[in-house]
């Protein structure tokens, strides 16, 4: 069973890798969007999926990263990809500062506070906070990224940039999931009191989950800014956070392949439904409900962690 799954994943990866060769520009660009949201979903998955915290404000961290890149590039002429570490860092720092006082809130109370967070960030961006965000115009004229003097502008070129980032993310997060750190988050999700009673510093891990998720969202903000060449508050609304949230839960909370599939469905389906014209979102909404009903745990729920076989077991 396990080998079969891995075979499917490998085949899927290969198909994805080759897809720019036989898809047109539009579908490649759809895959780019899917890729961006897959990474966003994976970063949110650390907070929602592993640690089990109700967080519906991830777009706030994404926005910090995208705007950092936009400001660094347009005002200080920093090459786009060089801005990535700082974007990630600032998003992480922002998460550290804002999450600290609210981290002890439980369940739905945390949910509304994170919604409030993303709304406050959006309103701040619209109102041109500190005079650096360009208000509702946003910031425009961001450079395309350059790798070794090679300028990335076509969808197919972005495809490889985005999915390479996704691959690195999957690799690192898979390791994170199967480590002491990943386990600590799982214990936290299962039973906070028992986790604390087993010697796990729950407050620390909650905060760490937020910070790592935010760092990744911030870095992907860089890629988004470079791809769109404009960042504006519309792109970081509460609805964006909801989309990321749906990706995680629909695909399978806590499951890396699940989240990636979730991104394909949540981002891809509205594109597939373009044939329905004005009714496309109606079909999308109905599809969300039905998929959730049929796969109540998410489409690919996480599998238990594997440990080396115990030689004492017969």
């Amino acid at each position: 069973m396990k080998d079969q799954r891995n075979l499917i994943y490998a085949g899927f990866a290969l198909l994805l890798l080759l897809s720019p060769l036989f898809l047109n520009r539009y579908w490649v660009d759809v895959l780019n969007s899917v890729g961006l949201y897959a990474i966003l979903g994976l970063s949110l998955n650390i907070i929602v999926g592993y640690a089990g915290m109700f967080h519906m404000g991830h777009a706030a961290f994404y926005a910090v990263g995208a705007y950092t890149t936009a400001i660094l590039n347009t005002t200080y002429g920093v090459p786009v990809l060089w801005a990535m570490p700082l974007s990630g860092f600032l998003a992480g720092l922002f998460a550290l500062i804002v999450a600290r006082p609210i981290i002890h809130l439980r369940g739905d109370y945390l949910l509304i506070v994170t919604i409030g967070l993303v709304e406050i960030v959006r309103i701040a961006l619209i109102n041109d906070v500190f005079g650096i965000t360009g208000g509702s115009n946003g910031i425009f004229g961001i450079d395309r990224p350059e790798i070794f003097g090679y300028r990335i502008r076509k969808p197919a070129q972005f495809f490889y940039l985005i999915w390479a980032f996704a691959a690195v993310t999957v690799y690192l997060f898979h390791r994170l999931e199967n480590s002491r750190f990943g386990r600590a988050l799982t214990y936290l999700r299962e039973d906070e009191v028992a986790a604390e009673g087993s010697g796990i510093n729950t407050a620390h891990y909650k905060l760490a989950a937020f910070v790592i998720g935010a760092i990744w969202a911030g870095m992907i903000g860089t890629v988004f800014a470079a791809k769109m060449t404009i960042v504006s508050p519309e792109s970081f609304s509460f609805w964006e956070s909801v989309v990321m949230f749906m990706i995680v839960i629909l695909g399978g909370s806590g499951s890396i392949p699940g989240v990636i599939l979730g991104a394909f469905l949540v981002i891809g389906l509205p594109e597939l439904f373009r044939g329905f014209a004005n009714a496309r979102m109606l079909f999308f909404g109905a599809a969300m409900v039905f998929m959730m009903i049929f796969r109540t745990q998410g489409i690919i729920p996480p599998r238990p962690r594997k440990y080396p076989i115990d030689e004492a077991t017969p």
């Binding site: 409030g116 709304e119 009714a279 979102m281 109606l282 909404g285 969300m288 409900v289």
Partner: protein, 301 residues
Amino acid sequence: MEQFFQQLTNGLAVGGIYALIALGYTMVYGVLKLINFAHGDLFTIGSYLGLTLLTSMALTDKLGPFFGILLLAVMVMILVGIVGILLDQVAYRPLRESPRLSAVVSALGASIFFQNTIMLIYGASFHVYPQNILPRMVVNVFGLHIPMIRILVLLASVVMMLALYTFIQKTTIGTAIRAAAEDQGAAKLMGIDVNGVIMIVFFIGPALGGAAGLMVGLYYGQVNFTMGWIYGLKAFTAAILGGIGNIPGAMVGGILLGVIEALGAAYISIAWKDAIAFLVLILILIVRPTGLLGERVAEKI
């Protein structure tokens, strides 16, 4: 000072409507621990149904404004209540035993579905309630200008909230709802038909939301298919502010949110009004992590 009181009445009118919608969130949450993100769209459905019934049946012409609107409200509430029950049966019931967030995503899907259904049926443009159904009087007290209709809206909200509160506290069904909210398992053992209770809750909550939709239509005159999203979010905020699952909390939270918004706009900044409201919410939750009237359950260890 006069401006302060004027703003206070502005905030109360808005808050009354938030409170009415917040009740729907809080009732459903109380029993199912589910945030019904489609609740805002049920509110929109209420305002559209109200418009259709109002214009097609000409009730106010036949029965006069008071009884006409009363009958209209009853019809809208029943219809939206039925939609609520259907919503629960289709989108939530299969998810009772699943992780809580699965139902949240189903609710979001249902919200998208409702919103676009309304758009396809009624069209994307704004719809307008007929004017002058209600008397356009302005009451002048102590130098304040208060349109009569605002007093009526607030009054109607308060009456409905009190009726609900009495229903929940004094009747057998109300007791069953409270029991199911407290502990579903124990309620089952006591012979309470929990599924029946859930159906009642999914009737009353949406019915109140529908009534709020009708009131918004009558009061502000203008409805469109996306309005439920903003009202829904505000009402959810209000429900949390008061302590979700707590019925008086939803009322207090709604009114308070309306007042905070009005005063925030008046004395700090209009453009930052919503951010101020959220900031106040966050500060309140930092101090009182389960809302203003929410129970502070020390976890039993």
